[in-house]
């Protein structure tokens, strides 16, 4: 299962998005979720928390989450603020992301 927020995720949308995704995971019994954030230019602690919550819930439902497409500025800001995307794999792009999911699924 693949998801790709093509527009910048504005806050209320992010929560709505999270609920939608979790429901879709249950419905499709998805084993993996690729979260493409290449269209997002600012990631603050709120968004990091939403992503973390998606990952935690997805893991409980047996699905792995990988975030791909972090922009340079987003990656650097996250590191500088000291946020860790714990429980969330990251990868360069969709192709690598699927590879990561495959390896994670084998464990």
């Amino acid at each position: 299962m693949i998801t790709s927020p093509q527009v910048a995720l504005h806050d209320k949308m992010a929560v709505q998005f999270k609920d939608d995704i979790l429901r879709r995971i249950v419905e499709t019994k998805a084993k993996g979720l690729v979260f493409d954030i290449s269209a997002i230019d600012i990631v603050d602690s709120f968004l990091v928390r939403q992503i973390g919550e998606i990952a935690t819930a997805a893991n409980i439902m047996g699905a792995q989450v990988v975030v791909v497409g972090l922009r340079p500025e987003v990656a650097m800001t996250l590191v500088e603020m000291g946020f860790s995307l714990k429980g969330v794999h990251t990868a360069r792009d969709l192709e690598k992301g699927l590879e990561v999911l495959r390896k994670a699924g084998k464990r």
Partner: protein, 136 residues
């Protein structure tokens, strides 16, 4: 170009050298001040966003001076690259220098560091599945 006191470090931007499929090298020489560190960060991250890169070899053997703040900035760049799916390693860092950095509070854990470019290349090739053989 930013105005600065150090003549050498502002003159030539540190290049990104495409060394092999998926491997780039960044040869850092001279004084690593914060302006240069910023430039290196932006070059590396912009490059790996544009070009599929598996490994960045940051060669720091030629650095004459660096302060802990700048060293930490470089470390954060390495972590940012990791989030973007690229492993950045450091070469030209002798064990005693590594220990000094650690004692100064520079967080090297989780980052591969090597004394020589040779070791760094060896690691990179091995990780990416390349084998170097001498032809008879």
């Amino acid at each position: 170009m930013e105005k600065g006191k150090g003549g050498q470090s502002e003159m030539v931007p540190t290049p990104i050298v495409e060394a092999w499929e998926g491997i780039i090298m960044v040869p850092v020489v001279g004084i690593l001040d914060s302006a240069r560190a910023k430039q290196i960060t932006e070059s590396i991250l912009e490059h790996i966003a544009r070009v599929k890169t598996d490994i960045v070899i940051i060669s720091i053997g030629g650095i004459s001076a660096v302060d802990t703040k700048t060293a930490n900035h470089l470390i954060r760049t390495i972590h940012a690259a990791k989030l973007m799916g690229t492993e950045a390693i450091i070469t030209g860092i002798r064990p005693d220098v590594a220990m000094t950095l650690v004692s100064l509070g520079v967080e090297l854990s989780g980052i591969m560091t090597f004394s020589t470019m040779h070791e760094g290349l060896e690691y990179a090739f091995k990780k990416l599945g390349w084998k170097v053989e001498k032809s008879k």
